[in-house]
């Protein structure tokens, strides 16, 4: 193969995407980052970070948002991974039906999906009607405008992404490898945890990162299902930018959100099995 030709082809293939991301993502991101370290007269300073981080309200909201993302992500993995494994083992029509079912919620507007939860979790919604009809609870209980409602909404929103990411990764794990492990004396559970999971680790990391980042930065779901009772980093950022017009604080919150997701991404990679 002619290396020059290959290089040209690579540039041709990667170039448009790279230029798009450079202009519309990296440059604005760098601008935000630089802005967050600039004082009123343009000097480099950490005062904006100090102002935000010393605020007790921010700490509370940061911990809450982190907690919700850390609750949703493992649940999505526990439910989503076996589902993705099952789908990856299917063939033909069954596989395409199940994949379509997973994709279907992604085709609906997040706002519409979230509003559906208002009907389901409302005082006279399906869940309360079910629980009261079975006399599990004497009267309708408050399900909406709680952290629980947000967690359920986020789980529905992001689990399909994890399933899709992991299942495409699992498709690269040959069933012959599993059979080889079985023939060498491992049981089914051993094959799953010691062969399948490590081999699909890249996809799992990607899925976890996408779910965590989505939960950590979500705005619509916390704003609708949490209301004023459950402030998250995104709703706090909106408040700083659009109500108080304190763009500096909003910028700092945005940078902190980016740093947190980067830390998580690299943190998970540290658990990557050796020789993978």
């Amino acid at each position: 193969m002619n290396p020059l030709k290959s290089k040209k082809t690579m540039l041709f293939l990667v170039g448009p995407g790279f230029i798009f991301l450079l202009i519309f993502f990296f440059l604005p991101l760098m601008y935000v980052l630089l802005e967050s370290f600039q004082g009123e007269n343009g000097q480099l300073t950490l005062v904006r970070y100090y102002d935000v981080l010393k605020n007790a309200q921010f700490k509370l909201v940061f911990v809450r948002t982190l907690k919700m993302a850390l609750v949703v992500t493992p649940i999505a993995v526990i439910i989503g991974y076996p589902c993705a494994y099952f789908i990856s083992k299917l063939k033909g029509k069954k596989k395409s039906i199940l994949t379509t079912l997973v994709i279907l919620p992604l085709m609906t507007s997040p706002v519409a999906r979230t509003y559906a939860w208002i009907v389901i979790l409302g005082k006279y919604g399906i869940v309360n009607a079910f629980l009261t009809s079975l006399h599990i609870i004497p009267e309708p209980t408050r399900l909406l405008y709680t952290e629980g409602a947000i967690i359920v909404g986020l789980l529905q929103l992001f689990m399909p992404i994890l399933i899709l990411t992991v299942s495409s990764s699992l498709e690269n794990v040959s069933s012959e490898v599993e059979e080889a492990a079985l023939s060498l004396g491992s049981n089914r559970l051993g094959v799953f945890f010691r062969v399948v999971v490590p081999l699909s680790f890249e996809g799992l990391i990607m899925g976890i990162t996408l779910v965590f980042t989505g939960c950590f930065t979500a705005y619509v779901t916390p704003a609708i299902l949490g209301g004023a009772n459950v402030l998250t980093l995104s709703t706090l950022m909106r408040e700083q930018a659009l109500v108080l017009m304190n763009w500096e604080a909003a910028t700092v919150i945005a940078v902190i959100m980016i740093i947190t997701t980067l830390v998580l991404y690299n943190g998970i990679r540290a658990f990557k099995p050796r020789n993978m």
């Binding site: 605020n55 007790a56 309200q57 509370l60 909201v61 809450r64 509003y115 208002i118 009907v119 409302g122 005082k123 006279y124 919604g125 408050r142 909406l144 405008y145 704003a223 209301g227 004023a228 009772n229 402030l231 706090l236 408040e239 930018a241 659009l242 109500v243 108080l244 017009m245 304190n246």
Partner: protein, 353 residues
């Protein structure tokens, strides 16, 4: 051949009509502001009605073209501040709080009272709500108190929101909305007799917080809560009454003994306008009899003119009527703006517990 001929005729006719249109546009209309453009920053709601009642008649009368920049208060104000050195907005329509911020940011300027011939016809409070003639109130709205008449006793006071029997069925506007701070003032008045000691209002909000199903940040959210039968009693913005009434539930409006907070939508002249006279003419137009009447009849804006009369069935969907207007309080936007950050932090600390 026949087909070709017909097509040629159609083409020639089309070009002729285009040419004729082009020629007619170049003909002088003799109108005072012919060929000039006025840029108005305004909300995007009910644009079809605003076109019909305000924009098109103004363009026809003065010969100018109106360019509209739409968006919510914050977005539009942010744009105006960002373009401060190269302004394009001639007239800005904002809520009171944002008009005050626009004044502080230096993106609006005082109006010229000598050009506002309709000024004498409007409510006294609407003539200069921000101070220093930085805008006129062209539309009135108020915070009302709604309740489910089949679920609640008659509501007569803001204190009724704290009645334990309504726990879990109450909602209030969040502090970041136009009426959020006004609600604290009304709680203060209900429990102290005046608006001075807001500390009491905050204490009462803290008592009320566990009883709230949630606090709403948009009127549409409140409508959903009412339609879902989650909320039986709540303060509401007067312009949302039509939607609340259309839920088909047994809803009633109360005028509490402590009164109600009122506010204006305010029109101001852009600081860097190159069409200052035309901008003032537009503001004068907004408070003209016909515009005020038509806007009220279409239930878009409640009139600030005292001589506009509307039928009873329309009046009940507006901030209108002597009984209501005489019970309204208008708060100092400067004081509200000065308290904003502290009050938002305080609100968040109560609701984040």
């Amino acid at each position: 051949m026949k087909k070709m001929l017909v097509m040629c005729v159609v083409l020639v006719a089309s070009f002729s009509s285009l040419f004729a249109q082009g020629t007619s546009e170049k003909e002088s209309t003799g109108l005072p502001y012919e060929g000039e453009t006025l840029t108005v920053s305004m909300w995007g709601y009910n644009m079809d009605i605003l076109e019909k009642n305000i924009i098109t008649p103004f363009e026809e009368k003065y010969g100018c073209e109106i360019v509209v920049e739409t968006g919510n208060n914050s977005d539009r104000l942010t744009k105006m501040v960002a373009r401060k050195n190269n302004p394009i907005v001639d007239v800005a329509l904002f809520a009171g709080s944002h008009t005050y911020k626009a004044k502080e940011a230096g993106v609006i300027k005082p109006y010229d009272p000598s050009l506002l011939t309709n000024l004498d016809a409007i409510m006294e409070e609407a003539k200069d709500p921000i101070g220093d003639m930085y805008g006129i109130g062209y539309s009135l709205s108020n915070l009302g108190l709604f309740y489910r008449s089949d679920k609640c006793d008659e509501i007569t006071s803001w204190k009724d929101l704290l009645d334990p029997s309504y726990a879990g069925t109450v909602s209030v506007p969040t502090i970041t909305t136009t009426y959020g701070p006004a609600f604290i003032y009304m709680l203060t008045k209900a429990f102290t007799g005046d608006f001075t000691n807001t500390e009491v209002g905050w204490q009462k909000l803290e008592e009320l917080a566990p009883n709230l199903i949630t606090a709403y940040s948009k009127s549409s959210e409140l409508n959903t809560l009412i339609a879902q039968e989650e909320v039986y009693i709540a303060p509401y913005s007067s312009f949302a009454w039509g939607s609340i009434a259309s839920t088909g539930l047994d809803v009633a409006k109360a005028i509490p003994e402590e009164g109600l907070p009122g506010t204006f939508s305010i029109a101001s002249v852009g600081a860097g306008t190159k069409n200052e006279t035309l901008a003032n003419e537009f503001i004068n137009w907004l408070i003209s009899y016909d515009v005020q009447l038509n806007e009220a009849l279409d239930q878009v804006d409640s009139p600030v003119r005292l001589d506009v009369e509307v039928p009873e069935e329309i009046a009940q969907n507006l901030a209108y009527g002597e009984e209501l207007v005489s019970n309204l309080y208008f708060f100092d936007e400067a004081e509200l703006a000065a308290n904003q950050e502290e009050w938002i932090n305080r609100w968040n600390s109560i609701f984040s517990k």
